[in-house]
């Protein structure tokens, strides 16, 4: 018994640095959320200003930027999930059915690779490859009439979302397939054999054995994706933003950066940021409860 207590004291020491970090750097800013309800006062800091109630939220809801930022965030997030979510599953099913181990390994190594490219480099790649005058990809797409010849893929507002979403898929589809490949590797061989004995062809094995096997993984990842639906990647949007595409590329997070940090409107920026976080959280809860009711799978 004595050694148990001594042990617990050691376990506390081991967890303490992480606990302190989370308390200061994760809960500290949460404490600072009250800034969204106060008039920020430089001399008084974090929590010193006078209470302002929902003034800054109303200011945002009534501002001309409310609908554009909300709509842009939703559109980008929606298409990213709609197109980006099924692709890794498809890729995992394909990789899983390749028998030739050497080819399989080369393919996997290649499809994971773009994940290691930084966002800055990714956006630079897009600019180089899609440049209307010299870009190789631009040339290819236009030669095969996949995009109209007069479209500037980097400047045209209607091209922003497709370029954003498709390049995102290019970058992370392979990486995101890992988890489904891992899940598929746990399917027992007896299930495959049994299906074959029952006369199932390869398509039927996909539908009746493989997809059901990875369904829990699919649902959990979908819930997680829903939860971060509105936290559309700040970095890539920010880096791809230019004066031509700004009407469609200003999302909530870039707006918070532009008004909050750049123009020092700390209270207003905090309110917009908090709105974003709360909507995110609600999406997560909603997705979680729908999944729980329909399939008994949930995060918490």
């Amino acid at each position: 018994m004595k050694s148990m207590q001594k042990g617990n004291y050691q376990l506390w020491i081991l967890v303490l640095p992480a606990l302190i970090y989370i308390a200061v750097f994760a809960y500290g800013p949460m404490y600072g959320i009250q800034l969204a309800f106060r008039d920020f006062d430089f001399s008084k800091g974090f929590t010193g200003g006078d209470w302002a109630g929902f003034k800054y939220f109303e200011q945002y809801f009534n501002s001309p930027m409310f609908w554009p930022t909300l709509r842009n965030t939703f559109v980008i997030a929606f298409f990213s999930i709609l197109l980006g979510f099924p692709m890794p599953i498809l890729l995992a099913l394909v990789i899983n059915s390749i028998k030739n181990n050497k080819y399989k390994r080369i393919l996997q190594t290649t499809v994971y690779m773009p994940y290691f490219i930084s966002t800055v480099v990714m956006v630079a790649l897009l600019q180089i490859l899609l440049s209307p005058s010299t870009g190789v990809l631009d040339l290819f797409l236009k030669t095969f009439h996949l995009v109209p010849a007069d479209v500037n893929l980097l400047g045209n507002p209607s091209a922003f979302v497709p370029v954003y979403v498709l390049s995102g898929i290019w970058q992370v589809c392979g990486w995101n397939s890992i988890i489904f490949i891992a899940a598929l590797s746990t399917v027992e061989t007896q299930l495959y054999d049994a299906a074959k004995i029952d006369g199932a062809n390869r398509w039927q094995i996909v539908w009746n054995v493989e997809i059901p096997a990875i369904m829990p993984t699919i649902i959990i990842l979908l819930i997680l994706n829903m939860g971060s639906m509105l936290s559309v990647g700040f970095e890539k949007t920010f880096l791809m933003q230019n004066s031509l595409n700004k009407p469609v590329s200003e999302v909530i997070s870039t707006y918070v950066f532009n008004v909050g940090v750049k123009s020092n409107q700390y209270s207003f920026g905090s309110a917009v940021g908090l709105f974003n976080t709360v909507v995110n959280f609600m999406f997560l809860m909603l997705a979680n409860s729908v999944a729980q009711k329909s399939s008994n799978i949930s995060l918490m």
């Binding site: 994760a26 480099v121 890992i178 959990i220 970095e235």
Partner: protein, 292 residues
């Protein structure tokens, strides 16, 4: 028949995916040492043409890039070390069933994955702690990723037999020693995976320096890259200085080639490390995300 069609579809999709992903990467490599005029005219498709290393030569004499490189290496090495030193012990504690407090601590950690103070309160916190514009902000920030913590904890729980702990305890082994001499050596797979996750995060970090650093000499590679690659403040002035307008336009002509070379030089360190760790990926990701 259906099976043959299936195999055909698999082959077609896999080849398509391979080409679509590999070709742009391959193109950057060959374009980085090809004649940039030929690249711009679309002559360089499968093989490099007019081979020269002008882009690389320019990079080697650019002090901003090396300063950025050095800063990034410092932030990545010390940042990742701090990550591991905090994450592994915490994951160990949280994996011990006799540690009752974990039932409270774990949800407190997990909650921060889904709810945060947001950009501005975090920025002001760093300001109040006088961390803005210091190297510390790049090392301390993100010291624990709850996601990596969960991966590690789950690995400890599921892959290290509990009998080992009982045996060690009977021999009078403390938790510290057990963690250092039994658990850590047995956990190379998961430790390399999270070390890679953390290191990639530090190496590619653009948002934090953008927000928290403003001195030139502290800027990491990604900020320098952005200036060179996206804002085009590249070499037009650098190469042109002291040599007149002619040299400036000469540099502009080669700007793209320099960009290709910069992309390669900045990405290669990660691509060199990752094949060695690749074999652990599936195991690490699987354990963390599916069971976690």
């Amino acid at each position: 028949m259906a099976d043959r069609l299936y195999r055909l579809v698999v082959i077609v999709i896999s080849i398509f995916t391979f080409v679509v992903i590999a070709y742009p990467l391959y193109f950057i490599v060959i374009a980085s040492f090809s004649n940039s005029t030929m690249v711009n005219q679309g002559d360089v498709i499968f093989f490099p043409k007019g081979i020269n290393f002008y882009g690389y030569e320019k990079i080697f004499v650019d002090s901003r890039i090396w300063q950025g490189y050095l800063n990034t290496i410092i932030y990545t090495v010390f940042g990742t070390l701090l990550n591991l030193v905090i994450t592994i012990p915490a994951a160990y504690s949280l994996s011990r069933r006799e540690f009752r407090a974990r039932k409270i601590i774990m949800p407190l950690f997990v909650f921060t994955m889904y709810f945060s103070g947001g950009m501005i309160p975090t920025y002001l916190l760093f300001r109040d702690l006088h961390l803005l514009n210091t190297p510390w902000v790049m090392i301390i920030n993100g010291a624990v990723s709850v996601y990596n913590l969960i991966i590690t904890r789950t690995f400890f729980e599921s892959s290290i037999p509990d009998d080992l702990h009982e045996a060690a305890l009977l021999d009078g082994c403390s938790h510290f020693r057990y963690l250092a001499s039994v658990v850590t050596p047995l956990s190379k797979a998961v430790i390399s995976v999270i070390a890679l996750y953390y290191a990639v995060g530090h190496w590619n970090d653009f948002f934090n320096p953008l927000l928290y650093l403003n001195s030139d000499h502290l800027q990491p590679l990604q900020i320098i890259l952005r200036n060179i690659l996206l804002s085009n403040q590249a070499f037009a002035d650098g190469a042109g200085s002291g040599a007149g307008a002619g040299a400036g336009s000469y540099a502009q002509q080669y700007a793209d080639q320099i960009k290709f070379a910069v992309i390669i030089v900045s990405t290669v360190p990660l691509l060199v490390v990752y094949p060695f760790i690749q074999k652990y990926f599936e195991k690490g990701v699987m354990i963390g995300a599916v069971k976690g």
